[in-house]
C-alpha cells in the first residue's frame, strides 16, 4: 500500500531537551495509524510535527526528514498554511468556535475563498453527514455550537475539518474528554472516514488503538520502540517494553 507520510530520522528538541529521538516510520494511505505510549512519551509532539503545529511553540528545533507525498514538509517552498489545509487536526478537547454550528463548519471553506451560499450549504450538510452529526443538529444549525454536548462538539470539530477536504486527519486523543457512548460514535466514524482519509490518532486508550487502527506505534521517552500492524503489536510484540506496556505493567 502507498505511503502518505515518510518520516526519516526525525529528532525534535524543545530548548535543550530532546523530545523525539531518531524516529523513522511510514504512514500508509487510507489507513488508521495509532500512536500509543505513556504521558510525556512524545506521541502528541510527533503528531504535531506532521502538520507543523509545533511552529507555533517557541524554542522547538527539528531535524530529519518528513515527506508528505514525497515532498519535504520542512522544505523552503512549502506554504505551511496550505500544508495545514491538507493535513488537518482534531484536538484533545473539543474546541468549537463561539459561533453557530453552520458558521463553524463553513469557517474553513470561507477562509479558503468559498463565498457561494448554495455551495456552502452543500458543504456544511455533507460534512455534518460525514461526521454523523447532521440528524442531531439539522434543526439548530444557526444556534451556537457551544450549546452542543461534548461528544457532539467533538464531531462538529471533525465536520469542520472535513469541510476543508484534507488528505490527512490528525487526532490528538479525540475521545479522552468524552463519555463511553460518544467515544463509541467517534470510533465508528473513524472506520467510515478511513475510506477517504489517512488518519493518525494519538490515544491513551490501548483498547481504542486495538479496536480502530491498522498500524500502531509505541512511543516511550521520546523513542519509537516498536511499530507494526496493530494485531501483531498487541498479540506478539517483539520488544519487552512494548509487552510490559500493553499488559499494563506500567503506564
Amino acid at each position: 500500500m502507498e505511503n502518505k507520510f515518510v518520516v526519516h530520522d526525525l529528532n525534535l528538541y524543545y530548548k535543550d531537551v530532546q523530545a523525539l529521538r531518531n524516529i523513522s516510520m511510514d504512514i500508509k494511505k487510507q489507513q488508521i495509524t495509532a500512536l500509543i505510549g505513556p504521558s510525556g512519551c512524545g506521541k502528541t509532539t510527533f503528531l504535531r510535527v506532521l502538520n507543523r503545529m509545533n511552529d507555533l511553540i517557541e524554542g522547538v528545533r527539528i531535524d530529519g526528514k518528513v515527506l508528505l507525498d514525497d515532498q519535504d514538509i520542512f522544505g523552503p517552498d512549502v506554504d505551511v498554511v496550505y500544508l495545514r489545509k491538507r493535513v488537518g487536526m482534531v484536538f484533545q478537547r473539543p474546541n468549537p468556535f463561539p459561533m453557530s454550528v453552520y458558521d463553524n463548519v463553513a469557517y474553513g471553506p470561507r477562509i479558503h475563498g468559498q463565498r457561494n451560499k448554495n455551495k456552502l450549504d452543500e458543504i456544511v450538510e455533507k460534512s455534518l453527514r460525514s461526521a454523523a452529526l447532521w440528524d442531531e443538529v439539522s434543526n439548530r444549525l444557526f444556534k451556537s455550537a457551544l450549546g452542543l454536548s461534548g461528544g457532539q462538539q467533538q464531531r462538529l470539530c471533525i465536520a469542520r475539518l472535513l469541510a476543508v477536504e484534507p488528505e490527512v486527519v490528525l487526532m490528538d486523543e479525540p475521545t479522552s474528554a468524552l463519555d463511553p457512548l460518544s467515544t463509541l460514535k467517534i470510533e465508528e466514524l473513524l472506520r467510515d472516514l478511513k475510506n477517504h482519509y489517512t488518519i493518525v490518532i494519538v490515544t491513551h486508550n490501548m483498547q481504542q488503538a486495538a479496536r480502530v487502527s491498522d498500524s500502531t506505534a509505541f512511543f516511550l521517552n521520546g523513542d519509537m520502540v516498536e511499530f507494526g500492524p496493530t494485531e501483531t503489536l498487541f498479540t506478539r510484540p517483539t520488544d519487552q517494553r512494548t509487552e510490559d506496556y500493553i499488559t499494563g505493567r506500567f503506564g
Partner: protein
C-alpha cells in the same frame, strides 16, 4: 473538631458576611445619593426655565436664555470622535501586543501602557495646545480650537484603557481556539479577524464602554482645547463647549441656588444620564448579538 471551634468559625463567617453587606450598602447609598442630590438641585432649574427650551434651545445666554443643546451635542460629539479615532487604533495596538509582538516588545509595552494611564489630564491638554493646535490652525486657517482637537486629545487619552482591557480580553481566548483555526489552514490574520475578535467581543465592548466613560467625563484637557464658547459647533474646527467644560468654568462664579447654578447641576445630571444611556445602549446591542448566537 470540637464544637467551640466550629462555633467560632461560624461567627467569623457571619461577621464577614455582614461586613460585605454593609460595604455593598454604603457603595449603593453613595451612588444613589449623588444622583439624588444632583437631580434634586438640578430639577429646580425648571422653576425658572421651561423644560422644553432647556433641552432644545441652542442659545446659552444666562441669566435669561438657557439652551443647553450645544453642550450635550459637544459632549456626545467629542466622545464619539474619540472612540472613532482611538477605538480602532487601540484595538490594533492590543492585537499587536497580544498576538503579533515578540515577548520582549510586550515586556516593554505593557508597563508603558500602564504608565500612560497615570499621566495627568492637564498634561494631555498642554500637549494638545502646544503640539496639535498649531498644526490644525495651520491647515484650517482658524484658531484651531474645537471638537476635532478635543476628539484627538481624548482619543490619545483613552488609548491605554482600550489597549490594556482589549489585550486582556484577546489573551483570555483559549489557545485551543486559535490552534483549531490554524489547523484548518487559516492564516494569522484570518484567525485574529474571524476567531479571536468575535470570541473576545464582550471584553472588547467593556473596553469601549470604559473608554467612553472616561472620554465623556474628561474635563480639564477638553476645557484647554475646545475653545469654551457656549455655542452650537458649526464645524469640527469651531470653538464650542461641552457639559463638563461649561460646568467647571461657571460653577465658581454662580451663587448656589440661583437659576444659573441650578442649570449647571441639571447639566451634571444630564451628563450622568447621557453616559448611562450610552453604556446601556452598547450593552443592549451586544447582548442582542450574543443572544442571536445561542
Amino acid at each position: 473538631m470540637n464544637n467551640r471551634h466550629l462555633n467560632s468559625q461560624l461567627a467569623y463567617d457571619k461577621l464577614f458576611r455582614y461586613i460585605f453587606i454593609v460595604s455593598a450598602v454604603i457603595v449603593g447609598v453613595i451612588i444613589f445619593s449623588i444622583i439624588l442630590f444632583v437631580s434634586k438641585q438640578g430639577l429646580q432649574t425648571f422653576q425658572d426655565v421651561s423644560f422644553w427650551d432647556f433641552h432644545t434651545g441652542t442659545v446659552w445666554n444666562p441669566p435669561g436664555q438657557y439652551g443647553a443643546l450645544p453642550f450635550v451635542f459637544g459632549s456626545v460629539a467629542v466622545t464619539l470622535l474619540a472612540i472613532a479615532l482611538g477605538g480602532p487604533l487601540g484595538l490594533a495596538g492590543a492585537i499587536f501586543m497580544a498576538k503579533v509582538a515578540p515577548p520582549w516588545i510586550r515586556e516593554i509595552m505593557r508597563p508603558a501602557t500602564d504608565l500612560f494611564v497615570g499621566i495627568p489630564s492637564v498634561v494631555y491638554g498642554w500637549v494638545g495646545l502646544t503640539v496639535f493646535l498649531p498644526i490644525i490652525s495651520k491647515y484650517t486657517g482658524g484658531p484651531g480650537f474645537g471638537l476635532f482637537l478635543a476628539g484627538v486629545i481624548l482619543a490619545i487619552m483613552i488609548l491605554p484603557t482600550v489597549i490594556s482591557i482589549s489585550e486582556d480580553a484577546l489573551r483570555s481566548v483559549p489557545k485551543t481556539l486559535e490552534a483549531g483555526s490554524y489547523a484548518l489552514g487559516a492564516t494569522r490574520w484570518q484567525t485574529i479577524y474571524r476567531v479571536l475578535i468575535p470570541a473576545s467581543l464582550p471584553g472588547l465592548v467593556t473596553a469601549v464602554i470604559l473608554a467612553m466613560a472616561r472620554a465623556i467625563g474628561e474635563t480639564m484637557a477638553v476645557a484647554m482645547v475646545i475653545g469654551n464658547s457656549p455655542q452650537l459647533a458649526s464645524s469640527l474646527f469651531a470653538p464650542t463647549a461641552t457639559l463638563t467644560t461649561e460646568i467647571i468654568l461657571n460653577m465658581g462664579q454662580t451663587p448656589f441656588g440661583s437659576p444659573w447654578n441650578n442649570a449647571l447641576f441639571y447639566m451634571a445630571f444630564m451628563l450622568l444620564m447621557v453616559s448611562l444611556s450610552m453604556i446601556l445602549l452598547i450593552r443592549f446591542v451586544v447582548n442582542r448579538r450574543l443572544a442571536n448566537d445561542r
